[in-house]
């Protein structure tokens, strides 16, 4: 193997790693393609890409069109992380401007993947506050907001624990919806607060598949219709899982 081919294969592997990280962190198809093409042209190669929801394929062609390299990579299950999306985007500009070489790209990707998340309790409390804020938007009073906070807090906690135990992601959403609406349902059942309806309907809003659905519309508008449909169906299954959780509670409390 001479130097050019090994170079192309190295670039191909790192591009696949970057692309897989982007797709599983919640970037749209267009953004993934744009970033990878920017990186490749900064490193002096031309690439052809095939991007799907769960796999990436890249062909790297060097400048004199003599050597090329193709590989397929399966992306990891989706876990939204905008720090990676943001960091990779910054990095791609540095590479494009010719400041960084391939070793620095690999090191930066490793660093970005290791960046700490916000601590669990902080996330739980702020998302709980977001739930309370939602409840206020839909007309809930102070007590309803407290109910929505508790429901959201516990629901998200259950979802995190279920994800750690490696349940199917849709089942995790179902558990979370069940927990959250069970708590809000108790408040409604015992007529707690002045607008328990609002608390009940907003307690599961933290589960709405906002990223899949918005990315789905963006993808379809960009002409990546296949990926858009896949994301749409994924979002609908999540919505269905939420509905199942809420229905279960409604049936429980209707007796």
């Amino acid at each position: 193997m001479n130097e050019e081919t090994s170079n192309a294969s190295e670039v191909g592997s790192i591009l696949l790693d970057v692309g897989a990280a982007l797709m599983s962190s919640g970037a749209s198809t267009h953004r993934t393609r744009l970033t990878l093409e920017r990186l490749a042209s900064g490193l002096g190669f031309k690439i052809e890409l095939l991007i799907t929801q769960r796999a990436l394929m890249v062909t790297v062609i060097d400048k004199d069109q003599e050597h090329f390299f193709s590989r397929l990579k399966r992306t990891s299950p989706h876990k939204i992380n905008f720090k990676i999306v943001s960091g990779v985007s910054r990095m791609s500009w540095r590479v494009f401007d010719g400041e960084w070489n391939i070793e620095q790209v690999a090191a930066e990707l490793r660093r970005l993947k290791k960046l700490p998340h916000y601590s669990q309790w902080l996330v739980l409390s702020t998302v709980g506050l977001a739930g309370a804020a939602f409840c206020h938007i839909f007309g809930g009073g102070l007590i309803d907001m407290a109910v929505a906070f508790t429901a959201t807090f516990s629901g998200l906690f259950v979802r995190q624990q279920a994800t750690l135990k490696k349940f199917n992601p849709y089942v995790c959403v179902f558990f979370a919806a069940l927990t959250a609406s069970l708590i809000a349902g108790f408040a409604e059942f015992f007529n707690f607060g002045n607008h328990p309806d609002a608390a009940f309907s907003t307690s599961v809003l933290f589960l709405v598949p906002g990223v899949p659905l918005i990315n789905s519309v963006t993808d379809m508008m960009d002409g990546n219709i296949q990926n858009g449909i896949v994301r749409m169906v994924n979002g609908l299954i999540i919505a269905f899982a939420i509905a199942m959780g809420v229905f279960t509670v409604r049936i429980l409390f209707s007796f």
Binding site: F82, K83, H117, Y118, A133, F134, L213, I214
Partner: protein, 161 residues
Amino acid sequence: MEILEIITKCLAAGVAAAGFGMLFNVPQRTLLPIGILGALGGLVKFGAMYFGVGIVFSSFAAATVIGVVSIRMAHSKDSPPLVFYIPSVIPLIPGFFIYRMMLGIMSLISVSSTEVYLQNLITTVNNGTKAIFILISLGIGVAVPMLITRKETMKKKEPGG
């Protein structure tokens, strides 16, 4: 709706947006802008509704404003626009209508009297169409500014070949 109520609802939308930003693990420097953007979206939506605009168009306008401002913020904060607009439009999601629609569908399964059935059907379809149209208008409203401005930034920054 009172002016004061609009303001508190805007603040609530901002808090919700920042909360979701944290859930999506956004960089710390973008948290405050996301909160402001969420509040701005709430201001446009509730403000438009205050002046009698329908909920679908108000949501569309709010999403468009969020899309436009998120592009500006993306340049100044050095993060892609989606980091800003996704958490910010989530407070605009019509959770209450979706919930009402689901309840309505559930009641349709069990109701036997024709009169009640018709009544429920009307409210369910009403809530459901509102919910779906708001969702679509949010998605498109956020995407449109991106599509309009993209041509320009591509030309400026992408290589010729």
